[in-house]
């Protein structure tokens, strides 16, 4: 496992960095989708995997970011890059506001409430609230990427945009794991009463987890809107949230697990076109098998690292 982490990540990054030059345009599009959905699944992992909250509305925040970018670009003529801060902030603030009244709910109740949020959100989009969401058709004809006066119209540019967002997400998650806030989330997930009895206010960290998860998903939404130059409500349906939820649960709350889940769910169906209609069938069975055989996920969570100077041999279990 150690070895895999040592060599796995550099190899993965190198391959991903070179990838668009090895693929034709159809496969580039698939690779971009992989990157975007990997970011959303990782953001879901912060809420579900790290903090243990059964959130089944992650597509809401993903969509909120995408629509923020689309509306700002389409209605107000902001460049795609300029919409990024708001595409992160608006979902992050909404995440905190929505989470505030519900984080004390027990797992299954929270799950139902977040499904409700997701459904309401899609309804709002479809009914063209405020006349800016474009109704069931969504918004199309967005500008392509431009940065410092360069027009980055190619798909390769979008790929690298998505890749940078993934790297940023991984970096942020690493920072989180090595911080007081990140650890507090783990403690709350493991045993809330014990966490409270050691001085942790679980509410703060649950809302924080929701907020960060929502912000990252929102950023992924910007990339998504850029890739298709369009947004429409059906991409953010509740069923998408179910997929992100299952990916984290089946993959396990770890980066390799989540990436594997996204790969199986979104890339394999493209490789085997005939597999596409079967994917829910196969993934459904995979979920059942994984939950029975590996209830903590295919690649289970490894918790925050402890400093080397504390490891003094003995029964060190990896």
């Amino acid at each position: 496992m150690k070895e895999m982490q040592k060599f796995g990540y550099p190899i993965f990054f190198a391959v991903m960095a070179a990838l668009p030059h090895l693929l034709d345009s159809r496969w580039q599009a698939v690779a971009i989708t992989f990157l975007i959905f990997a970011v959303v699944a990782l953001s879901q992992d912060i809420i579900l995997g790290k903090c243990g909250m059964f959130n089944m509305g992650q597509a809401l925040f993903f969509g909120m970011g995408a629509y923020t970018t689309a509306i700002l670009n389409n209605e107000f003529g902001w460049s795609i890059i300029a919409t990024i801060p708001l595409a992160i902030l608006i979902p992050a603030i909404f995440g905190a506001l929505l989470a505030g009244p519900i984080v004390h709910l027990r797992g299954d109740y929270l799950l139902v409430v977040t499904i409700g949020f997701n459904i309401v959100f899609v309804q709002v989009l479809q009914n063209n609230l405020g006349g800016v969401t474009g109704g069931p058709n969504g918004i199309f004809g967005l500008d392509s990427l431009s940065f410092l006066g360069f027009n980055l119209t190619s798909q390769v540019a979008v790929y690298y945009f998505a890749f940078i967002v993934l790297l940023l997400t991984l970096w942020l998650m690493r920072n989180l794991a090595g911080s007081k806030a990140g650890r507090a989330m783990h403690y709350v997930r493991e045993d809330q009463l014990a966490a409270e009895s050691i001085g942790i206010n679980p509410r703060i960290y649950k809302i924080f987890a929701f907020s960060i998860g929502a912000g990252i998903a929102g950023l992924a939404g910007t990339v998504f809107a850029t890739q298709y130059s369009a947004v429409s409500p059906e991409a953010f349906e509740f069923i998408q949230s179910v997929l992100f939820f299952s990916i984290v649960l089946v993959g396990g709350s770890s980066v390799p697990g989540v990436l594997l889940g996204v790969f199986v769910m979104f890339v394999l169906p493209e490789i085997f076109r005939e597999f596409a209609t079967w994917r829910y069938f196969v993934f459904g069975f995979a979920m059942i098998a994984a939950m029975i055989l590996r209830p903590r996920g295919i690649v289970p969570a490894t918790f925050g690292k402890i400093p080397k100077f504390l490891i003094k041999g003995g029964s060190h279990v990896e």
């Binding site: 007081k180 806030a181 403690y187 045993d191 009895s197 924080f208 400093p307 003995g314």
Partner: protein, 259 residues
């Protein structure tokens, strides 16, 4: 003497029709090792839950350092220097021993929420300082060799030590131990006694519930005996041993030991 006093006055806790704690009063002085004993079901753990904010007592007052803490949440009470362990050990089972102890450093760490997103030199220093504090606790409780081991896979006696180490990492003023010797063998109990004395020598007041009478008599300075939620006696261990009400509660008339 500083006024690190815990004063309970007429604390009453009811569950439906059952009065688990009935107008209980006692006073823990700074620097004491104070024991609460009583037969099974006497309401000892309920008293602890009322002090540490897990339950709110219906009546009475829980006063700590001149401040009323009844009705505060557990984490607010920890903030005021009262930390507890549990009779049924509550550790973060999948996490390593070191990470478990690190949870005790939570309220001592100066990191803000946003340090979870971006680290700064200050937050890195804080992180390292706290890991060194964890190392101190690992040494104090003789747990160094298990630092990286997931705590759920360790034997019961060691888990008890980890739970105490976690509580001590908070640097409490008052440490509350709920049956610390439960499930320990004689040798482990001896080590525990020594540890409790060492903790007291660090200036920490200790309040404990214990079943093991030999241990209680040896370790505590002062005792309160409760039965059916009521105080039936208090005094030094030697006084308690001679008290007829206590002897009766323990040896029992036939109706009170099968709760």
């Amino acid at each position: 003497m500083s006024n690190n006093q815990l004063i309970l006055t007429d604390v009453t806790k009811r569950f439906g029709g059952l009065t688990a704690v009935d107008a209980l009063s006692f006073k823990v002085e700074s620097g004491q090792i104070y024991g609460i004993i009583g037969p099974n079901g006497a309401g000892k753990t309920t008293v602890f839950n009322c002090i540490t904010g897990i339950y709110k007592s219906e009546e009475g007052s829980v006063n700590w350092r001149g401040e009323e803490i009844r009705g505060m949440t557990p984490y607010q009470i920890v903030d005021r220097g009262i930390v507890r362990t549990f009779q049924t050990i509550r550790l973060f089972g999948q996490m390593s021993v070191a990470e478990n102890i690190m949870s005790g450093r939570h309220i001592r760490s100066s990191q803000k929420l946003w340090h979870g997103i971006i680290h700064t030199p200050g937050s890195k220093r804080d992180e390292l300082e706290n890991w060194h504090k964890v190392e101190e606790q690992l040494d104090f409780f003789n747990l160094s060799e298990f630092a990286a081991t997931p705590v759920g896979s360790l034997p019961y006696g060691i888990q008890r030590r980890v739970e105490m180490a976690r509580a001590m990492a908070v640097e409490p003023t008052l440490l509350i131990l709920d049956e610390p010797a439960a499930g320990l063998n004689d040798k482990e109990t001896l080590v525990l006694l020594e540890t409790i004395f060492k903790i007291r020598d660090k200036g920490v007041t200790v309040l404990l519930i214990e079943h093991d009478m030999d241990m209680v008599m040896e370790v505590t300075d002062y005792l309160t005996v409760i039965n059916f939620g009521k105080k039936i006696a208090e005094g030094t261990p030697t006084e308690i041993q001679k008290n007829p009400a206590v002897i009766e509660a323990y040896l029992g008339s036939e109706d009170d030991d099968d709760e």
